[in-house]
Every structure is written in C-alpha cells, then in structure tokens.
C-alpha cells in the first residue's frame, strides 16, 4: 500500500505521522485547558459541589475586590521597578565587561552563577540575609557600623523591594550574556568611523550603541517584564508565615490566583483572575511585536 504512494503522498504521510502525538499533546494539554479556564471563569464552583453559571459575576467581584486592586498594583510595582533596574544594571555590566580582557571569563562567571540557582533555594537564602539582628547578615553588618536596623520583610513598604531584589539578582546573568551578544553583533566599523570623527564616548554610547541594540533591548524588556508579571516563587517562599504579607503588601497576581484556587477553592474566581493575567501578558507580547515591526 505504502509503496504505491507517490513521493509527495509519502511525504505527507510521514509528516502527519511525526506530528500525530505532538498535535494530540498540544490540543489536550494546551488548547483544551485554555478554553476550559475561560469557561470556568463564568462559573461558580468550589471543586466539590455543582458548577453554576453566573455570567460575569466573577469579573464583577474582581472589579469590586479591594484586595485585587492592591494585588494588581503590586504586580505592576514589581514590573515597573524590576525591569528598568535589571536592564540598567545588566547593560552597565555588559557594556564594561565587553571591553575587559583580564579575567573576563571569571568575572562573567561570577555574574552568571545566580542564574543557575533555584528561585526557591535563593528565596530562603535572602530571607535569612534579611533577618533582624542577631541572625540576618545585612542587619548584623549595619549594626557593626552603628547604623539603625532596617525592617525588611515585616514592613509594608520595604517588603516588596526586598522580595524583588533576589528576583532581579537571579536574572542579571542571563541579561548580561544577551546584552554582550548584542554588543558583539554591532559592526566594529561604526565605532572606527566614530573614532575618526572624534566623537565623544557618551555620544557613541547614545547615538550608536544603544540605538543599534534596540532589538536586544526590546527582547530583554519583554522577557523580563513577563517574568516580573508572573513573580511567585520568591514571594511565596519569603512570606510563608503570611503569604503575600504583611497586609497583602507583597502579593502578586499569581499568588492571589494560587490562594483563590487552592486555599479557598474558589475555582471560578481564580479562573477569572487567570484570564485577566492572560490578557495583560498578551498585551505585553503584542507590544513587543509592534515595537520590533516598527523598523
């Protein structure tokens, strides 16, 4: 039977034979759950009882929930602090590291190591560093210099930046490596031309290097934005005694979703939150496509 097929028909047969299992996987594990999540967002369901259709009530509840707005705000604070800080830091390191020959590999390794760690393990390490005297390293160091203690994780204003720090720290290595690859890709002749014209270092940086790095910057901005919008591991582990606390001041959207679904068992309400998160992430991705298409 197979032998009688034409070459083209054989090709088609092979292609679909190769794709059969993956297509089933993507339909069952990706597309069906996506639709399912949207469906559940219109239902009220506590996992045990019956499902009841309640239309947009979950979304209305979300709109009127002050905790949700607090969480929404927190999520964007993570994003709006985390992305610029990590991009500026990693660009600074990459820009200078690119020009360094002596121990280049070793220094690069130092910055890259945190990327290879697990967020959970590092959340606990940082949580320990943040402890009050006599345990935490940061406060012990401050005490040695006679500087007043800083209440990191128990203060509603300091806790969020304190949790953000290890997230930024762990991502730096990746961003530095990508920035350096971007810097290497800029043709040397641009710099030579600028040198001949006697252009200052700062002009070279702002008129040549940064504009030519645009695709890299856009990619890293979106990549890290999505990361910060989905922050969870660090927050959960650094506030296990009161997840997202104190007073919800550190709670991001993913943690609220987790609690609604798996602590309160309000499946419909949690699903509605995931749909909102999905829309936000979609907008960020579309923004990337738009920015990259521009040129």
């Amino acid at each position: 039977m197979y032998k009688r097929l034409s070459i083209r028909q054989k090709q088609i047969t092979w292609a679909w034979a190769f794709l059969a299992i993956p297509v089933i996987f993507y339909v069952v594990i990706r597309f069906y759950p996506t639709g399912n999540a949207m469906l559940i967002s219109f239902q009220e369901w506590n996992l045990l009882g019956d499902r009841a259709w309640i239309g947009l009530a979950n979304y209305a509840k979300l709109w009127n929930d002050p905790v949700f707005w607090q969480v929404f705000r927190n999520t964007f604070v993570y994003l709006l602090l985390g992305t610029p800080i990590s991009l500026v830091l990693s660009f600074f390191v990459a820009y200078h590291l690119d020009k360094i020959r002596f121990m280049h590999g070793f220094i690069r390794m130092l910055y890259f190591l945190p990327f290879m760690t697990s967020a959970v393990a590092m959340a606990w390490v940082w949580r320990w560093l943040y402890q009050p005297v006599p345990i935490g390293l940061f406060n012990n160091t401050l005490a040695e210099f006679g500087i007043p203690q800083i209440d990191f994780l128990r203060s509603t204003t300091n806790a969020l930046p304190a949790i953000l720090a290890p997230a930024v720290w762990a991502g730096l290595g990746f961003q530095i490596i990508i920035f350096m690859a971007g810097l290497r890709a800029i043709p040397q002749s641009y710099y030579e031309a600028a040198h001949i014209d006697g252009v200052s270092k700062w002009t070279v940086l702002f008129e040549i290097t940064i504009p030519l790095l645009r695709p890299t910057v856009v990619f890293l901005t979106v990549f890290s934005s999505i990361g910060f919008l989905r922050i969870f591991d660090q927050v959960y582990n650094m506030t296990t005694n009161d997840p997202g606390g104190p007073l919800n001041s550190t709670k991001p959207m993913v943690l609220m979703i987790y609690q609604s679904a798996f602590t309160d068992f309000e499946m419909g309400y949690a699903a509605a939150q995931t749909v909102v998160l999905f829309v936000i992430l979609l907008l960020v991705s579309l923004l990337q496509l738009y920015l990259l298409r521009d040129r």
């Binding site: 088609i12 092979w14 292609a15 679909w16 190769f18 794709l19 993956p22 996987f25 993507y26 594990i29 990706r30 597309f31 069906y32 759950p33 996506t34 999540a37 559940i40 390191v93 590291l97 360094i100 002596f102 590999g105 220094i107 130092l110 910055y111 890259f112 190591l113 945190p114 290879m116 760690t117 697990s118 959970v120 393990a121 590092m122 606990w124 390490v125 940082w126 320990w128 560093l129 390293l137 012990n140 720290w169 490596i177 990508i178 690859a181 001949i196 990619f219 989905r230 969870f232 959960y236 582990n237 296990t240 993913v254 987790y258 499946m267 995931t274 749909v275 998160l277 999905f278 992430l281």
Partner: protein
C-alpha cells in the same frame, strides 16, 4: 578608510597619544575593579549559603565567611532525615524524563515543520506558535482538574505531563534545522533511508549544539520548577526538591544552618554542572535567548 585612519593617527602628537592611552588605562582599571567587586558581591549570597551550611548552630550569628571548624554534620543530618534524598531523586527523574521528551519531540516537530511540505503545515505552525502566549498560570486550574479526574494527582506523571513538549523548544529547533542543507536529506533519501532514519541519523547530529542548549534550558527549568509541583503533589514522598525545600525550610524556621544546607543541596548540583560546562552553557543560553 584604513589609509585615512593612518593619516589621522600620525597627526596626533606622541605626547597626546600617551596621555589618552594612560587615561584609557586608568578608566579601564577603574571599570575592571568595579566589575570585579560587583561580581564578588553578586556571588556572596551563594558563598554565604555554603559557608553557613558548614557552620555549627552557635556560629550562624557570626558574620565571618569562614566557619571556625567547617564540618559536614548538617549535610549528614539533613540527608539522614531521608526526605531530601527522595526529593532529589524525584527532581532528577522528572527533569531527566522531561528533557529527553523535549529533545525528541520538540526537534521532531521542529524538523517536520522545517523540512516537509504538507497540507496543514501552516495551521500547525501558527497553532503551536500561539501557545507561547498562554501563561502556565492560566492552565494550572484545568490541569489540576484533569489530573484529579484521571488520578494523576500526587504522581510523577502528574508533575511532568504539562512540560513534555514546549513551543519554545520547537521553534528553537525549527530555527536550527533551517541550517541543515536540503541536499543532505535528499542524498539520504536517494540512499534509500526512510524519513525517521534521516531525521535521527542525518539531521539530528548536525544540530547537536542546539539540542544541548535545549536540554540545558529544559533541565534547569524543571529542576527549579515550583508552582505546578506544589499544586499537584500533596504527600511529601512525591515532592520535588523545590517543594520539599520550601516545606522543610518552613518547619526548620530558626535552624538557619539546616535551611542553608537544604538550599545548598538543591543548588550545588546545577552549579557544578555549570562550572564544568561553563563555556558551552553560556553559548547555549545565547543561542536559545537570541533564536528562541
């Protein structure tokens, strides 16, 4: 341009050139020192984690980096507890199987989309591409319900089924198969090899660096994965290392030397792998980051 450069250079006085060079080298050593100390500061949390895991309980209040008498008691204690050993095995099994699955299926799909022309190709391509936009967090509730109805809760399969294939890996591999010349594949067809043999023994060896990059990303991602294993497991025997560590650390609370030991156990394996394959991993990360 080279000639012009020469003219320009010779018009500078020797003195001026020496001054600029000295300024440049001063700036260079300044930025070198800043980067070096910044780098040392960056690894400090990891170094302190390891140092504290080698300390006795009364020493953890001490800021000093080097333990008075380094010992491995904490490791013996944590490992004798037995749970960590099981979590380690769970993580290793799950990360390994997921990695193998991704290396096979992502490359098979990437290869098919790249090298075959067939009706429905574009639809499949767009469909898989669109799943990149769907965040895991949106899928965890349906996955949980699915696991519940099929009895996958609290099993290895339940932990790993969502990650067996990834759109990211598929596109990474598709990009790399573009670099494999069609002539090679044609030649193998003329030799009478079937398509499966061609994919496995002709195309796959040519994209080994990409396969390695994919394997590193998938393994690391699954080794450190937290939210889904946290949701799908409920008995400690099934925990992965991050979930186990999280609960263990919460119990140990004030025994920070034990918490640091647990953190070190889950971090040191990936650090060792990194230190051995450093160049290779960094190249892989760049490849995956730029092409994926």
């Amino acid at each position: 341009m080279a000639a012009f450069d020469g003219v320009q250079a010779s018009s500078e006085s020797v003195f001026e050139r020496r001054v600029t060079r000295r300024k440049a080298s001063l700036a260079q050593s300044m930025s070198w020192s800043i980067l070096f100390f910044g780098g040392i500061l960056t690894v400090m949390p990891i170094v302190y984690m390891i140092s504290t895991s080698l300390k006795w309980p009364h020493e953890i209040y001490d800021v000093s980096l080097i333990p008075e008498e380094p010992h491995l008691e904490n490791y013996t204690f944590v490992l004798e507890d037995g749970r960590f050993y099981g979590w380690f095995v769970n993580s290793l099994v799950i990360a390994t199987i997921t990695t193998i699955s991704n290396v096979i299926f992502d490359s098979l799909v990437g290869y098919t989309l790249c090298k075959f022309r067939f009706p429905g190709r574009y639809v499949v391509f767009i469909a898989i591409l669109s799943t990149l936009m769907i965040p895991t967090e949106m899928l965890v509730i349906p996955w949980y319900l699915m696991s519940q109805s099929f009895g996958w809760l609290d099993t290895h399969w339940g932990i790993m089924f969502p990650g067996l294939m990834t759109a990211f890996g598929t596109f990474l591999m598709k990009q790399f198969f573009e670099t494999v010349p069609d002539d090679f594949i044609e030649a193998a067809r003329v030799d009478g090899q079937n398509e499966l043999q061609i994919w496995w023994s002709v195309a796959m060896p040519l994209v080994k660096p990409a396969l390695a990059a994919l394997a590193i990303f998938v393994f690391l991602g699954n080794w450190t994965a937290f939210i889904w294993p946290l949701i799908v497991t409920n008995s400690w025997e099934m925990y992965t290392l991050p979930v186990g560590l999280s609960t263990f650390a919460d119990e140990a609370d004030v025994a920070w030397e034990l918490v640091m030991t647990g953190a070190a156990i889950s971090t040191i394996p990936t650090l060792i792998v990194f230190l051995i394959f450093q160049r290779f991993i960094i190249r892989g990360v760049v490849m995956a980051g730029l092409k994926g």
